[in-house]
């Protein structure tokens, strides 16, 4: 693993390395270099298995963090490639030519987060949400409760308790707050 990280460091601009375990590392690289880094890992370093493509919404920093997760079945090591893209007009280079299944992940991210992957097959079709016309629902500025109340006729009389307060009252009724 050390050797692989050193090799990557020579060829690509790596901004951050997080070591979780001996066989699991996360590296952060620039948006432009991501696809070539993944190609390099797949073709030269033996990371032939694509595990998942995920995204984290850092609304405070105004970025999406894409995570491409790869696995090397021979050496039994995993690597996560993180890259930051802007939340405004979020666009990323498509990687469907490396593994076919990435196209499905990209289609889902387009629908749930509004990240565009130009050129990816069927990326503009609706995937799970049919005919969605609001902002993408997994973005953190989307208020799902408000949307539900406006659209789905909530039934009257629903009560919710704060679990901490409720259990305190129930278990220690004598104790003052």
């Amino acid at each position: 693993m050390e050797q692989i990280l050193q090799d990557i460091g020579k060829q690509f601009k790596i901004t951050d390395i997080v070591k979780k375990r001996d066989n699991l590392n996360f590296i952060t690289c620039e948006k432009e270099q991501t696809i070539s880094l993944i190609t390099y890992l797949r073709d030269i370093k033996g990371f032939s298995h694509f595990v998942l493509l995920s995204v984290v919404d850092w609304i405070e920093d105004g970025v999406f963090q894409l995570v491409y997760f790869l696995n090397n079945p021979d050496k039994k090591i995993d690597i996560g490639i993180r890259t930051m893209i802007s939340r405004e007009n979020a666009t990323m280079t498509s990687a469907h030519h490396l593994w076919e299944q990435i196209a499905t992940y990209q289609r889902e991210l387009k629908e749930m987060y509004g990240i565009d992957f130009p050129g990816s097959p069927r990326v503009d079709e609706s995937f799970i949400l049919e005919g969605w016309d609001d902002i993408p629902p997994m973005r953190r500025e989307f208020d799902t409760k408000k949307y539900s109340e406006e659209n789905f006729f909530p039934r009257e009389g629903r009560e919710t308790n704060d679990p901490e307060e409720y259990m305190k009252k129930k278990l220690y009724p004598d104790e003052e707050k």
Partner: protein
């Protein structure tokens, strides 16, 4: 560029609903428009019982042979296999599963309903023969349950299709479902399970509610 063109071409249209030319059995080529030719565009009607004595007998026989549409919509559909097999054996109560909407009279809504599923549910419900009954399982169909604030699951089922019996729980066990079926039988025998007529009476209201959340309505308005 080729892929972008392909994307445009692939825009999903239900192939069963497209206009097309087909070869008839006589060797003639005929044009069909499935949205007009395959579906009736008349609104549903309220069916009044012709004779109250006969209706009572009919209701008794309906109640004793409940044919359930095998359509699992949520997590509750996992209870149905155990309901039908040897331990709980719903066949004792005259309940059996049927594969198509045309053959069945009871629709079990087993749990939460996503908007995408609701579209299929409405389509299946409208294709069922009258009289038809709906059993709604779980708290999700009552008030949304644990998904009350979800952007994609409905809160109240009775705004979209009429419900005869609610079985509360999360999820209800097969015993509770059997109790629900017995309750449904009582209702049918008493002549109170008039969901299909209620649907016909308040048809515009139900349709408006359905169309409010199903935004790409790419099916016929009336599915019978």
């Amino acid at each position: 560029m080729a892929i972008e063109e392909q994307n445009k071409k692939n825009k999903f249209i239900d192939p069963d609903l497209e206009k097309r030319e087909i070869l008839s059995p006589d060797g003639e080529i005929i044009k069909i428009d499935p949205m007009k030719d395959y579906f009736c565009d008349a609104k549903p009607k309220v069916h009044e019982p012709a004779n109250k004595v006969i209706e009572k007998f009919l209701n008794w026989s309906r109640a004793n042979s409940l044919w359930v549409l095998a359509f699992g919509t949520g997590c509750g559909s996992i209870e149905i296999p155990s309901l039908m097999t040897s331990r709980f054996d719903a066949n004792r109560f005259g309940v059996q599963m049927r594969p198509t909407p045309r053959q069945s009279s009871v629709f079990i809504i087993s749990g939460y309903l996503a908007v995408k599923t609701l579209k299929r549910v409405i389509r299946s419900y409208e294709q069922m023969q009258e009289p038809r009954y709906v059993v709604a399982l779980g708290s999700c169909t009552v008030n949304g349950g644990m998904y009350y604030d979800s952007y994609n699951t409905i809160n109240r089922l009775d705004y979209y299709i009429p419900v005869d019996v609610y079985v509360a729980g999360c999820m209800p066990r097969p015993e509770a479902m059997l109790a629900g079926f017995n309750k449904l039988k009582e209702r049918i025998k008493a002549g109170r399970a008039e969901g299909a007529n209620e649907y016909a009476e308040k048809f515009d209201w139900y349709k408006a509610n359905q169309k409010k959340i199903i935004k790409d309505w790419n099916m016929p308005d009336y599915n019978w």
